[in-house]
């Protein structure tokens, strides 16, 4: 058992080392990526995949590990992104100072909102967080166009971005920041999962009443999970901001908050690698599908076929329904599922992400 556990970390180290080396590699994967791994375009795409993988595992800390269904996670990405942008552009602070203030703001917002919203449990919490997220989205889109840039979003002030992060040639640096962000998220989530609070969180997911009977306060552990996940999300918002060079209101929409859930379930919620794989696959698919729909091959197709292809959300939403219906456990659950099909052993029980109510 200890050997098995150690092998997880070994896997993780190998994967991390391989990912870190990508900007040095000249390998090309025709059909998968537009150019070699060391080209800026591919690095940018992969960096977005890493950020989404990090956001996805931070969401899974709540959803898969604690059993909290939240639709307000995009809110904290928005807070990280917009607080930093506004402080840099309108208050004249430096980039890192702004990011630090933004993260501190996210902690306060997470404690305040979590304390209120966690008073309702299960599906009620999902609805309440969705409503709060919508209010923030409306504020971002039309609250104060001078501050947020409204629907256009807002580019970061040029002179605020360090020269090592500016320009196409420095894309590898951004890639490594995204890589470090994912590494930090994974370390935090796996670390918590192995700790005492993490065990209580999993127990909450499986049976909240039982935790209460043991004399522990479910509310506090849920709040802890919510706050940590939210701060990770806000940090992700800052990294995403650096990648894009500006703030975009898409992260505040309800579609983005729902997409985080799609990522986690796509990969397999509550599993060690599930959310990471799900986030990366989602980010890759949505970017490639957008690119694919602009290609000449697709433009030649009749409208009935081309229309849905131009809407990544349509294909991903549909894929999500299919996964939920037929492949509980997601992508990373597939091997175990196939093994179970060949053997007589059922893994259904192990894979259920826990009853929310």
């Amino acid at each position: 058992m200890t050997f098995l556990r150690r092998s997880w970390w070994l896997h993780a180290l190998v994967v991390a080392a391989l990912l870190a080396a990508i900007p040095y590699s000249t390998i090309t994967l025709p059909g998968v990526f537009d150019g070699p791994f060391n080209s800026p375009g591919v690095d940018q795409l992969l960096a977005v995949c890493l950020v989404f993988a990090g956001l996805s595992i931070s969401y899974d800390l709540m959803f898969g590990y604690t059993g909290i269904l939240s639709f307000g996670h995009g809110m904290y990405v928005t807070v990280g992104m917009y607080a930093t942008t506004i402080l840099v552009n309108h208050a004249g602070f430096g980039l890192w100072t702004s990011a630090a203030i933004g993260l501190a703001g996210a902690v306060i917002a997470a404690v305040a909102l979590g304390a209120v919203a966690l008073r309702v449990s299960g599906i009620g919490f999902a609805m309440v967080t969705l409503a709060f997220g919508q209010a923030l989205s409306i504020l971002v889109l039309s609250g104060s166009p001078q501050l947020t840039g409204g629907e256009q979003g807002q580019a970061l002030r040029d002179d605020a971005v360090p020269s090592a992060l500016a320009g196409v040639l420095n894309t590898p640096h951004l890639y490594w920041i995204a890589w470090a962000y994912l590494g930090a998220c994974v370390a935090v989530v796996w670390g918590i999962s192995a700790s005492m609070p993490g065990k209580v969180m999993r127990a909450l997911r499986d049976n909240e009443r039982r935790v209460e009977v043991l004399g522990l306060n479910p509310y506090l552990f849920k709040l802890l999970s919510f706050v940590i996940a939210s701060v990770l999300a806000a940090a992700g918002g800052v990294v995403y901001l650096l990648l894009l060079g500006g703030a975009t209101p898409t992260v505040s929409t309800s579609d983005f908050a729902l997409a985080l859930l799609v990522m986690v379930v796509l990969g397999g919620s509550g599993r060690r690698w599930g959310a990471i794989v799900g986030g990366a696959v989602y980010a890759y698919a949505s970017q490639s599908l957008t690119r694919l729909s602009g290609s000449s091959g697709v433009a030649a197709l009749p409208g009935v076929v081309r229309g849905p292809l131009e809407q990544p959300l349509f294909l991903l939403g549909l894929a999500f329904v299919v996964i939920v219906l037929f492949v509980p456990g997601g992508i990373t659950g597939l091997p175990a599922r196939l093994r179970a099909m060949s053997g007589a052993r059922s893994v259904e029980k192990e894979m259920s992400p826990g009853d929310l109510r």
Partner: protein
């Protein structure tokens, strides 16, 4: 005074839309414990079907026909959703919710693929685009239609629940689903029926929302859905009168706050939600927590 009258009637008009969407959500949740995220998609489908019919027929008959078509489309899609997606997941309540989330993302995206992301203008008959003068305030006629329709639906649903045998099964199912099943009643038929009924109300809401705004766009349903969620939480799940009262409160608070400052409306609704949650000592279905 005229401003107060105008804001009150506008608020109640918006509340009527919220009620139409929230009543179905609330009953489906009360009966089946499924929070239906695809409900907004039903609204959008109703809106686009209604818009197409109104374009083809035109005038007042077109308006009536488009409402009927929207109701049929909403009910049809909802029934299909229940049979194909919800029923196979009967033993996995969380997955039911997740599947509806997927549909809620995919259906508006499909509509955007077919009809484009921009709003399509809905040509409303001349008599409906006029105003009615009440206590000196000029109020667009459509707002009265919304309020009247919502009241009719409220009375209809309340009568259905209180006076019919099917309504009795639904009310009993909200209280204790297993007991209803144990009495030998096939609850699954009630589930499908509830989805169809909720979908019909959502489709009607979609068409009326299109007439109210003078246009339809793919995101309409989702934005209505979010406020309908607030109404459902405030009004206690499974209670039709509670939903109606909550819808009226949310609509009025939103309109009056919007009058003070353009974006205060949505914010004040969310603050209202937070206050009620803090003050409330009972859970969503109204049983002691």
């Amino acid at each position: 005074m005229t401003t107060v009258v105008l804001l009150t009637i506008t608020g109640l008009g918006v509340a009527a839309l919220y009620f139409l969407v929230a009543s179905g959500l609330s009953l489906i949740f009360g009966l089946m414990d499924v929070l239906n995220f695809a409900h907004g998609a039903f609204v959008t489908i109703g809106g686009y079907v209604g818009w197409s019919v109104a374009n083809a027929v035109g005038g007042t008959p077109g308006l009536v026909l488009s409402c009927v078509a929207a109701i049929a489309a909403g009910a049809g899609v909802a029934t299909l959703t229940e049979l194909v997606v919800i029923r196979p997941l009967y033993r996995r309540p969380l997955d039911q919710v997740l599947a509806t989330v997927g549909l809620g993302l995919a259906i508006p995206a499909a509509i955007q693929a077919g009809w484009g992301g921009d709003a399509r203008t809905w040509n409303v008959p001349a008599w409906l685009s006029g105003t009615v003068t009440v206590a000196g305030a000029h109020i667009p006629a459509i707002r009265f239609i919304l309020i009247v329709v919502a009241i009719v639906v409220l009375i209809g649903l309340a009568t259905f629940l209180a006076r019919t045998r099917a309504g009795l099964v639904v009310r009993a199912g909200v209280e204790n689903r297993d007991m209803v099943g144990a009495l030998g009643i096939d609850v699954r038929i009630a589930f499908t029926g509830m989805f169809a009924l909720g979908g019909a109300a959502a489709g009607l809401a979609g068409a009326l929302d299109g007439v109210y705004q003078g246009s339809v766009s793919p995101g309409d349903g989702t934005s209505l859905l979010i406020f309908a969620f607030v109404v459902v939480v405030l009004g206690r799940m499974g209670s039709i009168v509670g939903t109606a009262v909550a819808a009226a409160v949310v609509g009025l608070v939103q309109q009056f706050a919007n009058y003070v400052s353009a974006n205060l409306g949505s914010l004040s609704v969310v603050i209202l939600l937070a206050i009620v949650l803090l003050a409330r000592r009972r859970n969503l279905v109204g049983r002691p927590a």
